[in-house]
């Protein structure tokens, strides 16, 4: 066996995005020796791309906001398929997690009275997103990165070793998780810079690997998004929840072809931008679904009035949840009312003075001038849907982020449940902070409870992992991984996209079987040092298994809800709302089973109007609801609640 580097830690965090870094900080603060392993350089994780903001009901801009309203918006946005406990914890803890970033040095945009400013976003009743222009993700990554450096400086001062308690293993890709019996015992990976294999022995492993977008051709996601964590978890015996729900962001760039998919932030609409078709019509007014009719404006005047007077007017329909807007754009284009490059027009130029556009949306201004020769202060942008976020993910215990395998934890985009069938913009960044922290805490508590009974890593398992990873390099004359990847992306884009049907999903599953066979024969040239072909060859099985999860679950769920639209079952079904679909490995594929969704307790249900619940729930569920009381709409109640949040 070639040389293998060995490390021993209390907690290994896989992923250095918002979730991973926040988890690592917590574990380190709780005295655990912590390793952070990531595929890219430190500070480059996908979170860096987030633009719009982090949702937290701080009530800085509208004092009526509180955790209950945020909780309600999140469940409404997820069409009541969310794990209620996660949404409750998220709504309650997000403000503290955002404020905490200030103590690490973050500089959010301010309100006139010097607090953190908050912006409007789709599906959020009040301005709620803490932001820094349109580069919020960068601010969050850099802040957490610098906080880790700060902890390392403390360790250097106190223990003469900056990396003794918390160390980042950058450009190191984890290829397998290790178990001792039924518990986690560590992880194996390799370092790109020199091709060396690395074993991390650790009783607790936190997955914070992000999403899956690179299985799709048109995506806003970065190269890291190959579903590694989803696949690793499943192989280790954990379960994946509701993988059929994939968010297509309504506004990605569509021209030029090479940038197709790159995100155009929702803040463009939050700050006044409107969607128009080729006839110049603001078409979103035609697409307000019944469940949302009460909250959205019916005329342009009312919609425009909302920006200045949100209590006197209803919201513009451009700010409907993402799934609705994406489907609407899709329909307009299909009906022949699209823009020249196959999208629709997003117009901010005619709505705001050039100077404020440049100020409020600097990255967008920059992105369009540099990449598309479009001056967004003078011309409309062309936009269309792009694969953006996966709601499905590792099934976890809400309070501790523990997966079903002892010692395995998951937080951030790789985890499932929090966002139900559709995530609201801004809820991911706060999710990372809330559940990243909880995962760090959960993993630390788990390690404490183990005492000295630590699981062991066996050489045999390490060797197996090693051999499997090297296989593509030792095979010769096999398939080119880039070709397989291109075929996978085309398949997912064409057959498992925004609008799905049984026949296409079945065809997709057939093609995935072929890809599975092809990927076994993949071969790459070159050596182990920074070899992108080899890296892709190792990513492919992950992407394929995750794609199979998506396609199989999508085939099974015979309704349309959030990020899952079935042409053959266009309606939302109250029966299906009670069902989670759970993926497990079976043979060399995936098995999907149904599992009941945990019902929301009455005190939280009582935050919603009966009328609203009627649209989502079955008659039996409604029958056992407590009788309607005065509840949440009374102003006293809101006040009490906001007091509570502050306390």
């Amino acid at each position: 066996m070639t040389e293998i580097e060995r490390h021993s830690y209390d907690v290994v965090v896989i992923g250095a995005g918002g979730a991973g870094l926040r988890a690592a900080i917590e574990a380190r603060l709780l005295g655990k020796r912590t390793a952070i392993v990531c595929k890219s350089l430190f500070g480059k994780a996908h979170t860096v791309m987030a633009e719009g903001g982090a949702a937290a009901a701080m009530g800085n801009v509208n004092s009526k906001d509180n955790w209950q309203v945020h909780f309600r918006d999140t469940n409404r946005g997820g069409k009541f398929l969310n794990n209620w406990r996660m949404t409750e914890l998220h709504a309650k803890e997000a403000p503290d997690r955002v404020w905490e970033l200030e103590t690490y040095g973050a500089l959010f945009d301010r309100t006139p009275d010097g607090r953190i400013s908050q912006r409007n976003f789709g599906g959020h009743e009040y301005p709620r997103l803490a932001h820094v222009g349109d580069r919020t993700g960068l601010e969050i990554i850099r802040t957490l990165q610098q906080q880790i450096v700060s902890l390392q400086q403390d360790d250097l001062r106190d223990h003469r070793d900056a990396e003794g308690m918390i160390k980042v293993f950058a450009e190191t890709t984890i290829t397998s998780l290790l178990k001792d019996g039924d518990r986690m015992s560590g992880a194996v990976g390799y370092t790109r810079e020199n091709g060396t294999f690395v074993v991390f022995e650790a009783p607790a492993v936190i997955l914070a690997t992000g999403g899956i977008g690179k299985s799709y051709k048109v995506t806003s996601n970065s190269w890291e998004y190959t579903g590694d964590g989803h696949a690793l978890a499943m192989k280790a015996g954990a379960t994946l929840l509701n993988m059929e729900f994939v968010q297509f962001h309504p506004t990605g760039m569509v021209w030029p072809p090479s940038v197709k998919g790159i995100l155009v932030t929702e803040s463009v609409r939050g700050d006044g931008g409107v969607l128009k078709n080729s006839e110049g019509k603001r078409f979103m007014f035609d697409y307000v679904p019944a469940v949302f009719r009460k909250q959205y404006a019916e005329t342009e005047e009312e919609a425009d009035g909302w920006y200045d007077d949100p209590s006197g007017n209803r919201r513009p329909p451009e700010l409907l949840p993402r799934d609705e807007v994406a489907r609407a754009i899709n329909s307009e284009v299909k009906a022949g009312r699209g823009s020249p490059s196959g999208g629709v027009f997003l117009d901010i130029a005619s709505r705001l003075p050039a100077e404020s556009i440049r100020k409020k949306l600097p990255s967008m201004y920059h992105q369009f001038t540099e990449l598309a020769d479009v001056d967004i202060t003078a011309q409309p942008m062309e936009v269309g849907p792009t694969c953006h976020y996966v709601m499905g993910g590792v099934e976890v215990d809400p309070d501790t982020a523990a997966a079903v395998v002892p010692g395995l934890f998951a937080a951030g985009e790789v985890s499932g449940g929090m966002h139900g069938s559709n995530r609201l913009g801004g809820n991911s960044l706060s999710d990372l902070l809330v559940f990243g922290r909880r995962a760090g805490e959960g993993a630390s508590a788990y390690v404490d409870a183990l005492g000295s009974a630590r699981p062991a890593v066996t050489d045999l398992d390490v060797e197996d992992a090693h051999r499997a990873a090297e296989a593509p390099l030792t095979t010769s004359g096999g398939e080119n991984p880039y070709a397989i990847h291109a075929d996978l992306q085309q398949t997912m884009n064409d057959l498992v996209g925004i609008i799905r049907t049984a026949s296409e999903l079945e065809e997709a599953l057939g093609r995935l079987e072929e890809l599975k066979a092809r990927v076994k024969k993949v071969s790459v040239v070159g050596n182990k040092v920074f070899n992108p072909g080899w890296h892709l060859a190792l990513d492919l099985p992950n992407m394929i298994i995750v794609s199979e999860c998506i396609a199989r679950s999508a085939l099974m769920r015979e309704e349309s809800r959030g990020g899952h639209t079935r042409d053959d079952f266009p309606a939302m079904s109250a029966e299906w709302r009670k069902v989670n679909l759970v993926c497990r490995p079976a043979g060399d594929g995936v098995e999907v089973t149904r599992q009941p969704l945990l019902p929301m307790p009455p005190e939280l249900l009582s935050l919603f109007d009966r009328e609203e619940l009627n649209k989502y729930m079955t008659d039996e569920e409604l029958a056992i609801l407590p009788p309607e009381t005065e509840r949440e709409k009374s102003p006293e109640m809101s006040q009490v609640n906001s007091e509570e949040t502050k306390a």
Partner: protein, 459 residues
Amino acid sequence: MGYNARFKVWRGDNTDGDLEDFTVEVNEGEVVLDVIHRLQATQTPDLAVRWNCKAGKCGSCSAEINGRPRLLCMTRMSAFAEDEVVSVTPLRAFPVVKDLVTDVSFNYEKARQVPAFAPPPELALGEYRMDQLDVERSQEFRKCIECFLCQDTCHVVRDHEENKESFAGPRFFIRLAELDMHPLDVRDRTREAQETHGLGMCNITKCCTEVCPEHIKITDNAIIPMKERVVDTRYDPLVWLGNKIPRRSGAAASRSLHSGDVTTAEAQARGRLRQKPTDTTALTTLQQALHGQGRFADAAGASRSRVEHAGRVRTARQGALAAHAWELLCAVESGQLDLDGVEDEIATTLQQAQRLTSTGTVLAGTHALHHLVHGRLAEAAEHAREAIVWDRDRATRADDLVTLSEGLAGLGESEEAASALAESQSLWPDNPRLAGVRSNLDDMNVHGRPTPAASVDEG
């Protein structure tokens, strides 16, 4: 719409490498990173390149395109003519890992040396109040995507390994400025910047600002305001000179030093070497002080010891080897050493230096002088021209121009030779090499400008 473009892409690792030619399809609207990806998918599956977002947000895909530090994902192909050969090489200031990927750990080490934001302990969560106007100044610097292009382009460390230890670079000057201007940070960042991060070594060339893809006004808004606040700081000339002086042209800094300081520096360096003969910093200072006095043969003696004691760190070795080759060549050029006696040493030193160098062009100026002392005038002129394209710092360019001028003069192109000489003199009037070469040029009827009195530069 599509066409076939010609590319030269640097391929290799930290021991060896070269530019490789490719012909590759380019389509409408594409950026250089698209082309690199097409090369991976169709011609060179193991071509190493870093990238993440492909949207100019993560700062991973930094490289040099036609010698200019750029983001691969934000450089559109439409910026080049269809018949133009586009070269893509790794960042030159950092050691190569493979192909276009460099080892940027220098930056992470520097990051760890900047003390973190210290929160005011009396404020509880949610109690921070800051004015938008006050946070905006620091927010500009927090736009930084850590692409390290500014670090790559800054002449203080580009090709000057020896300066890396004491110079944090523009990326960390803005980090210090950001903390300095943070409404709630109380540390004195300006003095830190000056005393431990080498702010004084920056001579405000603004090259960093020019390459920043985030358009951060690094010099105007961070460096200059911090420099203005530094008062009454006195320097040990030894440390100062050691830090300041570039690789090849040891006396560049003497533009702003009185000649007495060069001898003082020599004396101090010798003093330190009596205590510790292997002190490479002192050896470097000694070499540079001697170079500044035009004593190239003696300088070569010092650089020889530098090579002996350089240790195994790749970058330190490279710096010492390159400096040594340069001193030997200057000594031969000025007649202080005999070519036959040192040619073997020059050839091996240069070869070893080349092997440790990330891109082919770093040593072009040295190769030019090597050709010149062998009388290969056309090659000398060609390499010197190439070097001029790449070398940005004044003194190094000035040296390249001297070599070019001599080569051209030998080829009978007196007019061009004279203008190269004049340009060189204006960049660096008291280059010690000029004294030796002027008589050669006079013989060939090539005259630069009359030497002005040494101008004193602010530094």
